[in-house]
């Protein structure tokens, strides 16, 4: 069987190209009510008065819910803590009169239709008592405190080695606030059932995470809440925590005993989690031959006053290169803003900018080719954990990527390559992301027609989960791909972790594989009991819906009938194999970028990218390539476009729209060549597959920045690199 490794088209493709795929805010019901959120216009203070009389006077406006009249919700932090919660005291929507950030939801208007709800929202008058606030990370960086999630401790003697090195660099980089902005705004449709239970279609990366949240916050029984998420219109981390439209819609539904939908506006998509602004310092000491002698990486990230959001920003600097004297420091500075949130390759997308730009600066200082410098300092072990890698084909990424790109033709001199008035620059960077595995469960069921249904409470946020799980199930069971259905996006299904961190194939895929293998064992047992030829058969194989031995075969459908049941099913709970514990596991990449910078206007175009990826076994090359393409596009956005700008006098985002928060458009993206290098890994999991959702973005922004330096001779260390900074 070869279902794994085939470029199968998306099994949900037909529903998506015909408009039949329904997303969270698209489930109609007779009498459905519509909620519109009223947001705070101040950054900090108290609500003195909420006057909803003008809104309530409109025919068709049913209710205005706010902190004074909301249904009862939990009063302890642990009820609000979800599976991706940061350290601290989670935000509680409509809890009391405190305003913690600009854009905070303060009221929900519920009306018969969407337009009326929105209009009525504009009539709700709120009186505030404002307080002094701070939203500028740069202004408070000296008061930053160590993150509760501490990076690996220092090794060797960083300070002395750095001070005494032949070349020592001390460089500072900064990255801005960025917002996920999935194309589908966050939405929750709460369908109030006749028995008082709630069926909720929610935009989430974890149906069971949202189920537990609603259950705990509203003091309900688990059986009273069921969350669905069959289709999710992108998330990139924004659906890892329950967002506030969910509890608001539930409040309204419980208060009115009606079905309610709440969809956020695009502007409100800027009023919850985001990628935090960071200030980074890279200190590198090297010998004249290029050996890294000392590496220090300090990062300060912003967080909210109520939670300490931590991510792995600096860890990568202790593991991507061999270095015996390392000091990693990670601090947080609280501001009057909402808590940041994991966003595609959280931490790595930020920290690797500093690390890989600094490596390029070091290569220039040493007059060593940037690829060569990385090879000189190749890490054979993960020194953070002092463990060998389960597999690591980063050398092959460098060599195959360089070959595809034509790197050997590069003139190292900045401003040495041009096409008329276009300065051409070639830059590169490496990338790394953890290959994690979580506990997960799956159920496999085969019926008397030979149709296999496999299920787990995961999601498909565009990553191709429906498709790759179908392939894994087909491979493990011997059922043809066409006869396999994978079911997800329902909290009542077997337990799955959040869909994030590139661990869905590793975690849920392993559970699916094990469930299907266990089902095949049961089918074989039926065959042995039913047919003499299979009784002692040593060599059997499952293929195309049949069980074979020698020239004899029997259909799996027949075996189900032979079992005397309508269907046979197996549910398994899988967990990471113990053998992983002695190894470090990671995906790696090498990214090569060509930019064209207009000498007169400073406009920057990324004309060509080669992304070479080592991620173990690729389950579906078509889907995996798409994941990497998307990661590269995100990296280009980080490098050149994306920045949520805040007016620190108002403590409010200024460019909270898709016209002014620029995400890359089609014309911004040049050629992208994706290479998956061979990498065999029998330790990471039984599939040998490491996941590809994050690795595509890591290193891209640094490679673009390095190419811009090569084109222009100008180092820009403040991201994004807009044209004004290169002129």
């Amino acid at each position: 069987m070869t279902a794994i490794g085939k470029p199968l088209d998306r099994v949900d493709g037909l529903l998506k190209v015909t408009g039949q795929a329904r997303y969270a805010g698209e489930f109609p019901e007779q009498g459905l009510l519509h909620g519109s959120v009223v947001s705070s216009s101040i950054a900090k203070g108290r609500v003195i008065k909420i006057d909803a009389s003008r809104a309530l006077a409109l025919p068709g406006v049913v209710e205005v819910i706010h902190h004074l009249n909301r249904p009862k919700i939990a009063s302890y932090d642990d009820a609000f803590q979800d599976a991706d919660a940061a350290d601290g005291s989670p935000f509680r929507p409509l809890y009391n009169d405190r305003v913690l950030y600009s854009g905070q939801p303060l009221a929900l208007v519920i009306a018969d239709n969407l337009e009326l709800a929105r209009h009525a929202g504009s009539l709700v008058e709120i009186e505030y008592a404002t307080e002094a606030f701070e939203t500028d990370l740069a202004a408070v960086q000296e008061q930053a405190h160590p993150s509760p999630q501490t990076p690996p401790g220092p090794r060797g003697n960083f300070q002395a080695e750095w001070a005494g090195a032949a070349i020592s660099l001390d460089l500072r980089y900064s990255t801005p606030v960025e917002h996920h902005n999935p194309m589908e705004p966050h939405a929750s449709t709460v369908l109030y059932q006749a028995d008082g239970t709630l069926h909720i279609h929610d935009k989430t990366q974890g149906p069971q995470n949202c189920q537990a949240y609603v259950q705990k916050v509203f003091g309900l029984d688990k059986s009273q809440v069921r969350i669905f998420a069959a289709f999710v219109g992108g998330a990139f981390g924004s659906g890892l925590r329950p967002q506030y439209q969910l509890p608001l819609a539930v409040m309204a539904s419980l208060a009115l005993k009606r079905s309610v939908r709440v969809t956020l506006t695009r502007q409100q998509m800027f009023t919850f989690g985001y990628r935090p602004r960071t200030l980074q310092r890279l200190q590198m000491g090297a010998a004249a031959n290029g050996r890294l002698l000392a590496l220090g990486h300090t990062a300060i990230g912003q967080t909210s006053r109520f939670e300490d959001f931590s991510e792995h920003v600096v860890e990568w600097s202790g593991m991507l290169y061999h270095c015996d004297n390392v000091q990693l420091t990670y601090k947080l500075a609280p501001l009057d803003v909402f808590t940041p949130l994991d966003m595609r390759a959280p931490g790595a997308a930020l920290g690797v900018i500093g690390l890989e730009c600094a490596m390029d600066e070091l290569a220039c200082a040493l007059a060593i080719d940037p690829v060569q410098l990385r090879l000189i300092n190749y890490a054979e072990r993960n020194q953070n954990e002092d463990k060998p890698w389960s597999s690591k084909a980063l050398r092959e990424c460098y060599s195959e990527g360089a070959e595809r790109f034509g790197w050997s033709q590069r003139n190292p001199e900045p401003r040495s390559m041009r096409d008329g008035r276009q300065l051409i620059g070639w830059g590169m960077a490496g990338g790394v992301w953890e290959a994690m595995q979580m506990k997960a469960s799956a159920k496999a069921r085969i019926d008397a027609h030979g149709k296999l249904t496999v299920s787990s409470a995961t999601t498909d946020i565009g990553t191709g989960t429906y498709t790759v799980m179908t392939q894994i199930a087909a491979q493990a069971s011997g059922v043809s791909v066409d006869d396999v259905t994978f079911v997800l996006g329902d909290s009542s299904l077997p337990t799955a972790p959040l869909q994030g961190g590139s661990f869905t194939v590793s975690s849920v895929g392993t559970a699916v594989q094990q469930a299907c293998e266990a089902l095949a064992d049961k089918l074989l047992e039926v065959a042995r009991q039913t047919y003499p030829v299979f009784k002692d058969a040593e060599s059997v194989r499952f293929e195309e819906g049949q069980l074979h031995t020698g020239d004899v075969s029997v259909s799996l459908a027949q075996l189900v009938k032979d079992s005397g049941q309508d269907a046979m099913e197996v549910q398994v709970d899988s967990e990471p194999d113990k053998k992983r514990e002695s190894y470090a596991t990671a995906t790696h990449s090498a990214v090569f970028v060509e930019v064209r910078v207009d000498e007169d206007l400073g406009t920057i175009k990324v004309s060509r990218v080669v992304s070479a990826i080592a991620a173990g076994r690729v389950v579906n090359p078509k889907m995996a390539r798409s994941q990497i393409l998307g990661g590269v596009v995100w990296g280009v956005g980080m490098a050149l476009h994306e920045e949520t700008q805040i007016d620190h006098h108002l403590g409010r985002y200024m460019n909270h729209s898709l016209a002014e928060y620029h995400i890359p458009v089609n014309a911004d993206i040049g050629e992208i060549d994706v290479v998956f290098v061979e990498e065999h890994d029998e330790i990471v999991n039984a599939l040998g597959s490491k996941g590809v959702g994050e690795i595509g973005i890591v290193g891209v922004a640094a490679a673009v920045a390095n190419a811009i330096y090569h084109a222009t001779g100008k180092r820009v260390r403040e991201f994004p690199i807009t044209l004004d900074k290169v002129l």
Partner: protein, 168 residues
């Protein structure tokens, strides 16, 4: 188009009756003057294939075809569509036979989450109708009103190019 008062006499809300062809079907609809075409489709007719990504004409997710031309349904009032021939993503296929653009999008994996996809496909069909795009760079430029946060741009380009190539 005719106007009739809606609801109680003291309310100034007036709904308008419009006739249009929607995905090949003749429809007569009563719409309020402020209702956008997008809200008409999604909220009143349950044609949710046309997506709302921004409601401000900034993302293209709501792109539909009016008389063969691509428009942003969120920036178009429903009353402006009196007499129009509208095609949404739900009306592109002929029975079980997908439109070539839909087939090309599947073949080239020109989408991931699928939320921008109906708008991308309608926009691409409109682009082919315009006859303005002849090469990859022109496709890129003329498809840049449709955002894709998953970053499927290269595949979208390939899908559109294949259909354009087949037309020429």
């Amino acid at each position: 188009m005719s106007a009739t008062p809606n609801g109680a006499a003291d309310q100034p809300f007036v709904s308008h009756s419009i006739r249009l062809s929607l995905n090949g079907q003749e429809r007569q609809l009563d719409v309020l003057p402020w209702t956008t075409l997008l809200d008409l489709l999604r909220e009143q007719l349950d044609l949710v294939g046309s997506k709302k990504g921004c409601d401000h004409g900034q993302c293209g997710a709501c792109t539909v075809l009016r008389d063969g031309k691509r428009i942003n349904a969120c920036l178009t009032l429903a009353v402006m569509c009196d007499g129009a021939e509208l095609t949404t993503i739900e009306g592109l296929a002929t029975g079980d036979q997908l439109h070539p653009m839909q087939q090309a999008f599947i073949k080239h994996d020109a989408f991931q989450c699928g939320y921008c996809t109906p708008g991308q496909i309608c926009s691409a069909v409109g682009l082919v109708n315009e006859g303005r795009a002849h090469d990859s760079a022109q496709i890129q430029e003329l498809m840049s009103g449709n955002l894709c946060r998953c970053g499927a741009y290269n595949n979208i380009r390939d899908a559109v190019q294949e259909v354009l190539g087949g037309e020429q």
